[in-house]
Subunit: 196 residues, 2 copies
C-alpha cells in the first residue's frame, strides 16, 4: 500500500486524513461543538470535500467511530410512516443493520470506548441527544423527547450488548426479525406511552 | 502495609489470596466449571474458609469482579412475592443497589471487561445463565426462561449503561424510584407476556 511513500495522497489518503482530523476535532470539541469547517481546516482541505465524502456531520462522526454504515439515511427512512408502528420499524431496522455488519463487531468497539474513555462517553451522549433525539422527535411533537430517547437507547444498546457482545443464547442466534418482534413493544411504549 | 514482609497473612491477606485464586480459576475454567474446591486449593486454604468468607460461588464471583455487594441475598429477596409485581421489584432494587454503590462505578468496569475480553464476556454470560436464570425461574415455572432472562438482562444492562456509563440526562439524574417505574413494565412483560 505504501509502495510510493513520496506520492501525494489520492482519494483514500484524503478520506483518511479527513477521518483523522474528525477524530481529533470530536475529541477536542465534543460532538456538538465540532464543525465540518474545523475538520476541513485540520485536514487542509475544502469543507466542500468533507461534505462530498461524508455528507453530514453525523455520518462523519459515525465513520470516525468506525461504524460501517451511514446512520442518516437509515434514520430518515425509519421515521417515515405511521407512529403506531415506529417501534417495530426501529427494532427491525436496528438488528438488521447491525447483523449485516456484525463481522467487525463495531458495536463492541463503540461500547468499549464509551466505557473506557470519558470523552468517548460524552461524545456518544451528545450524538444521541442531538441527532437521534432531534430526528425522532422532529415533527412527532412527543412530550419529554430526551427521556424517551434515553429509554429507547437503553433497550437498543442493552439488546446489542446481549446479542453481539456477550452473545447470550437464544438471543445471540435468533433471527433479527424475531428479536425485533420481542423488543418492538418496548420501544413503542417508550415512544408513545405516558412517561412520568 | 507491607512493613512486615515476612509476616503470615492475616484475615485480609487470606481474603485477598482467595480472591486472586478465584479470578484465576474463573478465568481458566469459566463460571460454570469453576469450583469452590479448586479455588481453595489454589489459595492453599480449606474450602470451608472460602465458604466462610464468601458464602457461595455467586458471591465469590461477584467479589472477584469487584462488585461491592453480594447478589445472592438481594436476588433471594426480590423473587419473594407476587409475580405480577416482580418486574417492579426487580427494577426498583436494581437501580437502588447500583445507586448505593455508584462511587466506584463497578458496572462500568463490568461492561468494560465484557467488551474488551472474550473470557470476561463468556463468564458474565455463564453467570447470568446459571445464577440469574436459574433463580428467577425456580418455582415460577415460566416458559422460555433463557429467553426471558436475556431480555430482562438486556433492559437492565442497557439502562445501567445510559445512567451510569454515558450519563445521558434526564435518566442519569432522576431518582432510582422514578427510573424503576419507567422500566418496570418492560421487565414485567419480559417475565410474563407471551414470548415466541
Amino acid at each position: 500500500m505504501s509502495s510510493r511513500p513520496g506520492r501525494r495522497p489520492g482519494t483514500s489518503g484524503t478520506r483518511q486524513a479527513i477521518l483523522d482530523a474528525a477524530r481529533a476535532s470530536f475529541n477536542q470539541n465534543g460532538y456538538d461543538r465540532a464543525t465540518i469547517r474545523d475538520v476541513a481546516k485540520r485536514a487542509s482541505v475544502d469543507p466542500a470535500l468533507v461534505h462530498h465524502f461524508f455528507g453530514s456531520k453525523q455520518n462523519l462522526f459515525a465513520a470516525s467511530m468506525d461504524l460501517p454504515f451511514e446512520p442518516t439515511p437509515i434514520i430518515e427512512r425509519v421515521i417515515q410512516g405511521d407512529i403506531d408502528s415506529l417501534g417495530d420499524r426501529m427494532a427491525q431496522t436496528f438488528f438488521a443493520v447491525w447483523d449485516a455488519h456484525a463481522e467487525g463487531n463495531p458495536i463492541v468497539g463503540l461500547i468499549r470506548s464509551a466505557t473506557s474513555n470519558e470523552k468517548a462517553g460524552s461524545m456518544l451522549r451528545e450524538f444521541i441527544t442531538t441527532e437521534i433525539v432531534g430526528r425522532i422527535t422532529k415533527g412527532l411533537r412527543l412530550s419529554s423527547p430526551q427521556l424517551r430517547a434515553g429509554l429507547i437507547a437503553s433497550q437498543m444498546i442493552g439488546a446489542a450488548f446481549i446479542r453481539y457482545v456477550i452473545r447470550l443464547e437464544p438471543i445471540a442466534s435468533m433471527s433479527a426479525a424475531d428479536l425485533g418482534r420481542l423488543i418492538a413493544p418496548t420501544l413503542q411504549r417508550y415512544l408513545t406511552a405516558d412517561v412520568k
